[in-house]
Every structure is written in C-alpha cells, then in structure tokens.
C-alpha cells in the first residue's frame, strides 16, 4: 500500500522549488548562474497582463543595481517563439526591458519551479532559493531594492 501512495505522489507532480531548496546542477547550468551573486528570476508571458505592468518596473529596478552582485533574469514562458520575440522587441523599443531573457517555449524551466501564479520572482544565491514573490506588486522596483538590502 505504501508503495502505491509513493507512486501516486510522484505521479501527481506536486514538487516545486520552495524557499531554502537548492537548484539542480542542470538548472544552474541552464540559467548560467554563478556563485556569490544574487539572481532575481522573473517568470513572465506576453498574455499575462500583470507581467506587462511589472516588467517596466523591473527594468527601472535593474538600472540602479550593482551588476557585479545582482542580476535579473527574465524567463519568457510563451509557447510561440515568434510571439515571444515580438513581445520582447516591443518592450525593448519602449525601453522596458534591459535584462537577460531566457525563452522557455516548452515550459521546461517553469515546470521545474512550478510557481503558484504569474508573474513570480525567485531570489537565488549560491544555487539556493532565498525568497519567492508570487503575483504582481505595484512597487516591485522598491520591493526588490529592499529585499536585496536585507540579503546582503
């Protein structure tokens, strides 16, 4: 019976990265993460209205960061690569995207993180998840600066 329960739990895919968890080596190399640097990983999509509101604020936050210590990485989870490219180009043209973006059309990265909603921010340092922010926040730029101050 206990084998059945374990099998069902594994099949139900309830696993997700939570605060304190370490990322797998595969994920670390995929995201190109280095030690001793704080990474703010933001999951977004072109169809997500809240993400569209948040991205300009993330860009604003990125302007005042020390890039030797902190890096923002965007993960675009649009399934259509052309749609993702058009969305990112439009954002760049308006000056609303100034950080590295990794496209995840097959949703392999986001499926591993398994966030509760979108947009979601993950603070990662030394391969460990330090904090998770789910959902859009009006003053996310200020929130990022405050969080980074606490993490130093």
């Amino acid at each position: 019976m206990k084998y059945l329960i374990v099998t069902l739990m594994l099949m139900s895919n309830i696993w997700a990265y939570d605060v304190g968890d370490s990322l797998s080596e595969e994920m670390v190399s995929h995201l190109e993460l280095k030690d001793d640097k704080v990474y703010v990983v933001d999951f977004f999509a072109s169809w997500c209205g809240s993400c569209q509101k948040e991205l300009p604020l993330m860009t604003k936050a990125n302007l005042n960061l020390n890039h030797d210590e902190v890096e923002i990485i965007g993960i675009d989870v649009d399934k259509d690569p052309q749609k993702a490219a058009r969305f990112q180009e439009a954002l760049k043209a308006e000056g609303h995207l100034n950080f590295r973006v990794i496209n995840d059309p097959q949703n392999l990265i986001i499926a591993k993180f398994n966030p509760l909603g979108m947009p979601t921010l993950y603070y990662i340092k030394n391969k460990k998840v330090l904090k998770i922010i789910t959902g859009a926040i009006d003053n996310i730029d200020q929130q990022i600066h405050n969080d980074l101050k606490m993490m130093r």
Partner: protein
C-alpha cells in the same frame, strides 16, 4: 483482484483531473473568455443591472486579470 481493478480504474481517470498550471492559462487570459465575450457593451449592460440590483458599485471583477496571479 477487486482492489487492483479499482486502482487501475482510478489511475485511468487521473488524466481527467489534470490541473491547469498558471503558465498554461494563455487561452483563459484572452479577452473573449470574459463575461460578454469581450463585448464591452454586453459587459457594461450586465454590470449596470448587477449594480442596480445590488444597490452598490464596484467589486464585480476578480483579481489577477485571468493570468493566475494572486
């Protein structure tokens, strides 16, 4: 034998209970999925009736804009 049958049946039905993940809600986030099919006049009309019946205004929407936020 009966237990095995029940387990196999339950496993077969697991596919029916697939959860829609937040990153799979592109279609649900479309304007046409809203009340009134994205027609602002129908929505306005329905809101007008709702607010007149409830004798109040606002609070008719949901948080998150359909993208699974909040």
């Amino acid at each position: 034998m009966k237990t095995v049958f029940i387990i196999i049946t339950l496993l077969l039905f697991m596919g029916c209970a697939k959860e829609v993940k937040p990153w799979e809600k592109e279609t649900l986030a479309k304007q046409t999925m809203e009340d009134g099919g994205g027609n602002s006049l129908i929505k306005q009309f329905e809101e007008h009736i709702y607010f007149s019946k409830e004798a109040s205004k606002g609070g008719g929407g949901v948080a998150g804009g359909g993208c699974g936020c909040n």
